[in-house]
Amino acid sequence: MLPPNLTQADFDRAMDELRAVLGREWVIAEDGPRRASYRDPFAPRDVDKSEPTAAVAPANVSEIQQVLTIARQYRLPLWPISTGRNFGYGGPAPRHAGTVVLDLKRMNRIIEVNEKHAYAVVEPGVSYFDLYRYLQARKIKLWMDPAAPGWGGVMGNLVDRGAGYTPYGEHFMAQCGMQVVLADGTIVETAMGATPNAKARHLYKYGHGAWVDGIFTQSNFGIVTQIGIWLMPEPPGYRPYLVTFPHEDDIHQITEVLRPLKLGMLVPNAATTVGLIWEAAVKVSRAQYYDGKGPLPDSARKRLASDLNIGNWNFYAALYGPEAIMNNNWKVIEESFRQVNGAKFYFEADRGGDPAFAYRAQLMRGIPNMTEYSLLNWVGAGSHVDFSPISPVTGDGALKQFHIMRDLCHRHGFDYIGEFLVGWRDMHHILMLVFERNDEERKRAVRELFEALVNEAAQAGYGEYRTHLDYMDAIAETYHWNERALYRSFEMMKDALDPQGILAPGKSGIWAGRSHHKRS
């Protein structure tokens, strides 16, 4: 599929010019597996139709600038990706096939790790595995904060405002310093980086004047090419723990107990309250417990909980620090959660050989792994799209969201596979919709369910924090207070920074060329 308003002849000319800049190998425009690898393999629709018209892969900022010159000349839309491996939200694919993927994976330098001030500076192609191995090889006593699949990108996840599981789990909070290439080719260093020979580029986030780093996240206003990220000094002690709870509606009391612990930093990390099936699916598959259609029946859920010694909810967090501090904090934490009837407490030694505990224990201390990807085994060779609204850290909020999402899942014939990831004053409620990837009927059901989830959550006052390519406009529509004032401001910024609309058309529901007619 050609980009809109571009003839085949112009497209071919643009590709030739790009080959002259990048070399033939890094302009991938021919039919075949190299281009097909840019599809969204988990799309809940026809996967073939997600294949972009081409992909180009610059090796440095200078090549990006040259690509932009050609893109502006031909009005060639570009979709920047970093590692392109978050398949719950679309992987490396663009929103529309008539777009050229700007693959930044080759820009994979770890530019600096500063042990004294505990930060790293990375390019877009650096994965969590890359950074972890770099730190390990040099025996650097700093922890990074990985998202669950370790093949994800340090920068890409942060720029998409993803989260992890250590005390630095709110990734954007740990960002400091950013290099951005604008659509006109201008290179911008944000905040302190704008002072020549900057001495505090990755130490103070804000600089002087307007602070703009945030507008380059989840947006299409520029191409982020470097980012500073704070790392956590290795603490003198680390003790991960699990608390299991027997009943589904315990989520109310668990959350009420958790809020003061989190606000008071007795739970310092991005902790998770994990639903039964999420917890089970890294160890067993659905077919081992139920071969019928529709959600897992209660009898099977009870067997699952009993066999695996897990709860309907499973709370993972960790203690960090000197022994004395960990021991004292644990007293308060244990006493607090004991208020929930049936709560059971486990440390690492109690869960030997349990892959669920093992991978959570790794993530909460910054060791990347792939274990959570096993969830796709729940239905065989599964795919997934994620629905992820934000909840307040309140029992009422958590229970209401859980009921809405579980009931809708069940009504549409799906299991509820969810977890709550707690930040400082919010919870990311992640629903993983796992489905059989070659089953068109199930894909149709996923689409219907997703639409219902967006609508019911929005009516109840819950917005999503991030979404799959196919739902970016739908989620954007739910942020419509005061006649879409927020999105109208995005459109004004878009038209000012990228008037031709060549960068990531439709990212997060932001489109070019809409500001003028909306204002008139």
Binding site: P33, S37, R85, L376, S383
Partner: protein, 111 residues
């Protein structure tokens, strides 16, 4: 066409004349790209999947004797079951050939 020819040559090279150095490079690539999903033991989603879709004897890639370099390269680039494709920017064709040589020949060194 030229790329295809190079790929085929590399595949032949990997099949017939892999040196210890090639296999060492292939091992490093396996650890980097594959091990987290395909190593033996619990917590590895690829091993878990193959244990179900095939059987336990075919669950661990590096223990298998039935894999060919061609197949490993093709599956890596195209994806299989729940494994998404790996793009040329992630692992290039020459690296893929080294990786495939290691995966297909490792079983000989463990018998």
């Amino acid at each position: 066409m030229r790329l295809e020819r190079i790929t085929i040559m590399l595949m032949l090279l990997a099949t017939h004349t892999s040196s210890a150095t090639d296999l060492e490079q292939g091992r490093a690539l396996y650890i980097h790209y594959c091990g987290a999903c395909h190593d033996a033991g619990a917590g590895h989603p690829g091993t878990m999947r193959l244990g179900v879709s095939r059987d336990q004897a075919h669950a661990v890639l590096t223990a298998r004797s039935d894999l060919t370099t061609d197949y490993v390269m093709q599956i890596s680039r195209a994806g299989n079951q729940m494994m998404p494709p790996f793009r040329a920017t992630e692992i290039n064709d020459a690296e893929l050939a080294e990786l495939a040589a290691y995966v297909t020949q490792h079983y000989k060194h463990t018998q």
